[in-house]
């Protein structure tokens, strides 16, 4: 039993820190720390910086240009980049499609698509969810019918994050209606410039249009864009989902959020004293900090087990649920701390590059909208209800 890093891990941590000090542009970390919305160029800039250093693809094998890091190194990298205010890595190409192609793609697909992901030639988005399906991913209704050298795709995907920036989408499509719902699904790569693809933004309750609907109307996709075998897509889809759960606990985000909350509660005044000195508020803040201290260790335990080669089971569901509860509580406390200035809603303030004079304190708008936006944390990536089902199944087996 030892809670501290090894000398090698500490050295790696130093390496990451000095890299971030040298290479992370201040205009990016300012936006991230200020809760501003990031644009396409921001993400691309940061991807390119990481790629230059060979650190863009933390989950890829070295033969494909990945880092070859173990779980502890990936954790250290995540903690440090989050603490420094680096933009997140857009996961669709790097954390989702990349691993699927490496495991299930053919040689041409690997040779062609993987370097393009690293170099930022393509912006990928995800065509999994469909309207009305919710967590029931196997109920895919979008169809792909073989027609010569092409599939003809018809249907609709939804909750496509950052789809407005994408030129490529990987999709689950139904190629057969026989057998169980899981059995007739295929995994298809679609060029979004193909005629018949249409992207429509969905505005969320924080006013942001980060997610989209994607419509397919007789879209012709070359058969070489099929990954793996026809009707075996469900296997690849599930493999992808396990990679989606990297950093599922969100410890770094929670710590950053907590630091921001502490700062705000030190600035806000209530009854003539800083809010942070109010016993009720201090109590709520301490409570979530204590929960986070324990959860961070649970996270390390799972990471250590993963680094030792054990596949995480229900533990990652536990981390998802508890991590979500903690982050949403921090969001709620931040909103509470902001006080009356939580009310103004000037969406432009959140736009990257906006110089709008904020209505209230600079933290008010971002803090309030983060509360609304992060309601999604317990809904997407397998809702917390689905996670609880997985946990109870693992222990009760019923």
């Amino acid at each position: 039993m030892d809670l501290s890093y090894t000398p090698e891990q500490l050295a790696f941590q130093d390496e990451v820190r000095s890299f971030l000090q040298d290479k992370l542009p201040a205009h990016l970390s300012d936006k991230v720390k200020g809760g501003k919305r990031l644009g396409k160029a921001d993400y691309e800039e940061w991807h390119a910086i990481l790629n230059e250093r060979g650190w863009l693809a933390a989950t890829w094998a070295p033969e494909y240009g990945g880092t070859g890091w173990d779980a502890v190194q990936r954790h250290i990298f995540e903690m440090e980049t989050t603490a420094a205010g680096a933009p997140r890595i857009v996961p669709f190409g790097l954390h989702m499609l990349g691993p699927v192609l490496q495991k299930f793609g053919n040689q041409q697909q690997k040779d062609y698509w993987l370097p393009r992901i690293l170099n930022g030639d393509d912006w990928w988005c995800q065509g999994y969810s469909e309207p009305g399906a919710g967590s029931d991913l196997a109920s895919v209704k979008t169809t792909a019918v073989r027609d010569g050298d092409h599939y003809v795709v018809n249907g609709q995907k939804t909750w496509t994050t950052l789809g407005q920036y994408a030129n490529m989408i990987f999709c689950l499509v139904r190629t057969s209606k026989e057998g169980k719902p899981q059995e007739g699904i295929s995994f298809l790569l679609v060029d979004m410039d193909t005629p018949g693809v249409e992207v429509r933004p969905i505005v969320l309750l924080d006013g942001e249009a980060e997610v989209n609907e994607v419509w397919f109307d007789n879209v012709r996709v070359p058969v070489e864009n099929l990954v793996g075998e026809e009707n075996k897509g469900w296997t690849y889809a599930k493999y992808l989902l396990t990679h989606e759960r990297t950093n599922i606990a969100g410890v770094g985000f929670a710590r950053q959020g907590l630091a921001n909350l502490r700062r705000i509660a030190g600035l806000e005044q209530s009854g003539g004293q800083p809010l942070i000195q109010n016993p009720f508020f201090a109590g709520r803040l301490a409570q979530v900090e204590i929960d986070l201290m324990a959860m961070a260790t649970t996270n390390l335990r799972v990471i250590a087990a993963a680094a030792a080669g054990n596949a995480p089971g229900a533990e990652s569901s536990m981390l998802k649920v508890k991590g979500t509860i903690i982050r949403q509580e921090i969001n709620a406390l931040t909103r509470q701390a902001i006080g009356p200035y939580a009310a103004p809603f000037v969406s432009e303030e959140l736009e990257a590059g906006s110089n709008a004079d904020p209505v209230g304190p600079e933290y008010a708008m971002a803090g309030t909208q983060a509360y609304f936006n992060n309601r999604k944390l317990s809904i997407y990536g397998g809702s917390n209800e689905v996670q609880r089902q997985i946990i109870s199944k693992a222990i009760l087996g019923l």
Binding site: A332, G339, P340, S383
Partner: protein
């Protein structure tokens, strides 16, 4: 002991519910919020015509209601509809203060408010005041027969559509003192009054108001100089009753949206309302909404009680409403899943508006602390 509405109130409730369900639309609310004034002139006229504004005032003030149960009735309905008009601000706060403190001339404004002709916004909160009712740093210095006002007023709801403001300013004492606060009637066009209008989460608009050497006459003073605090506290109690009732109405609509969704939406081959986990969580939500209803009744029924008892109920009710509101918002969005987060779907408006209830007149913790203090007194 009787929990039935009188016949007159029942008629008002029925009429108001019908009118709002016909007149208020998701698009209309968004349009009002987008507009510079932040309100819908037609709706306001309609409310005035129906006597809804008048229902907030006693007969001696020219209205036909004014009791706690009148406030709770009206605002539960506006909440149900998700209305964003500044009825609370103009009717309960400004109108109530003028009725309570105004001289005969000033009280003429009450008739204009009831008739819908004039909107008066209440410019009291300041950038640093948070929920402290007596924290007033704006100043009013006597000059000749009148006063010169300076200061900043924060999140003045309804100001963008108002013709007149009630401005609180300190004529004596220090920032947190209860003594020394005075109220002034100031036309929005007055020299030195600057306004920055913006939309609000949950709809409607407010403004930041800056007062720079604003000169008003002695006749602008509302009530006795430096003695406004008791009336402020009274108006605050009534406003808390109103916003608590509005919150209840918002909860009722969210309840309907959510139970409908649970019954209709299918997943894994059955309505999601068949999942026992959602059933039980919905049952807990329903129980808490009943608690919220009782809390509103308690406050409405004690608005005219003695001060400590009234204020204990103010804090008890606002605390309970704040807790239930968070539960209702978070559970309803969670049970809806992704669709619950989209601006296009009605839930988002109600959920945001209900969330914002905790950001006016003191939040859950503020009132818990206050309740303890009042109970120990």
């Amino acid at each position: 002991m009787n929990f039935e509405l009188t016949e007159e109130r029942q008629m008002l409730q029925d009429g108001l519910r019908r009118y709002l369900s016909e007149s208020v639309t998701h698009e209309g609310l968004a349009a009002a919020t987008e507009s510079e004034a932040g309100h819908d002139v037609g709706l306001w006229a309609g409310l005035a015509e129906m006597g809804v504004i008048g229902a907030l005032f006693s007969e001696e003030d020219g209205g036909f209601g004014g009791a706690g149960f009148d406030l709770s009735l009206v605002f539960e309905e506006t909440g149900r509809a998700g209305l964003v008009e500044p009825l609370l601000d103009v009717g309960v706060l400004s109108g109530g203060l003028i009725a309570a403190l105004g001289n005969d001339t000033q009280r003429g404004l009450v008739d204009e408010i009831i008739g819908g002709a004039v909107q008066v916004a209440f410019a009291h909160g300041e950038p640093n005041s948070r929920y402290d009712l007596s924290r007033v740093e704006a100043t009013a210095k006597a000059q000749g027969d009148g006063y010169v006002l300076n200061g900043r007023k924060a999140v003045v709801v309804g100001a963008p559509s108002a013709q007149m403001l009630i401005v609180s300013a300190r004529t004596s004492g220090n920032a947190m003192d209860q003594d020394g606060i005075s109220l002034f009637l100031v036309p929005v066009g007055q020299d030195g009054v600057e306004m920055r209008s913006y939309p609000l989460n949950g709809g409607g608009r407010a403004a930041e108001v800056t007062l720079t050497d604003v000169t008003v006459g002695g006749d602008a003073l509302l009530g006795a100089e430096g003695q406004a605090f008791a009336a402020l506290e009274d108006a605050n109690a009534r406003a808390t009753c109103a916003i608590a009732a509005e919150a209840l109405g918002l909860m009722e609509t969210i309840k309907t949206l959510t139970t409908d969704y649970l019954s209709q939406r299918k997943q894994f081959g059955q309505p999601i309302g068949k999942f026992q986990v959602l059933q039980h969580r919905m049952a807990d939500v329903l129980i808490e909404i009943e608690q919220a209803r009782s809390a509103v009744i308690n406050l409405a029924g004690n608005l005219d009680g003695d001060r400590v008892e009234r204020e204990r109920h103010v804090s008890a009710t606002k605390n309970l409403i704040g807790r239930v509101a968070r539960q209702v918002v978070e559970e309803s969005i969670q049970m809806h899943g992704g669709i619950g987060m989209t601006q296009e779907y009605a839930l988002s408006h109600f959920a945001k508006r209900l969330t914002m209830v905790d950001h006016r007149f003191g939040d859950t913790d503020f009132h818990l602390e206050r309740f303890i203090r009042l109970s120990a007194a």
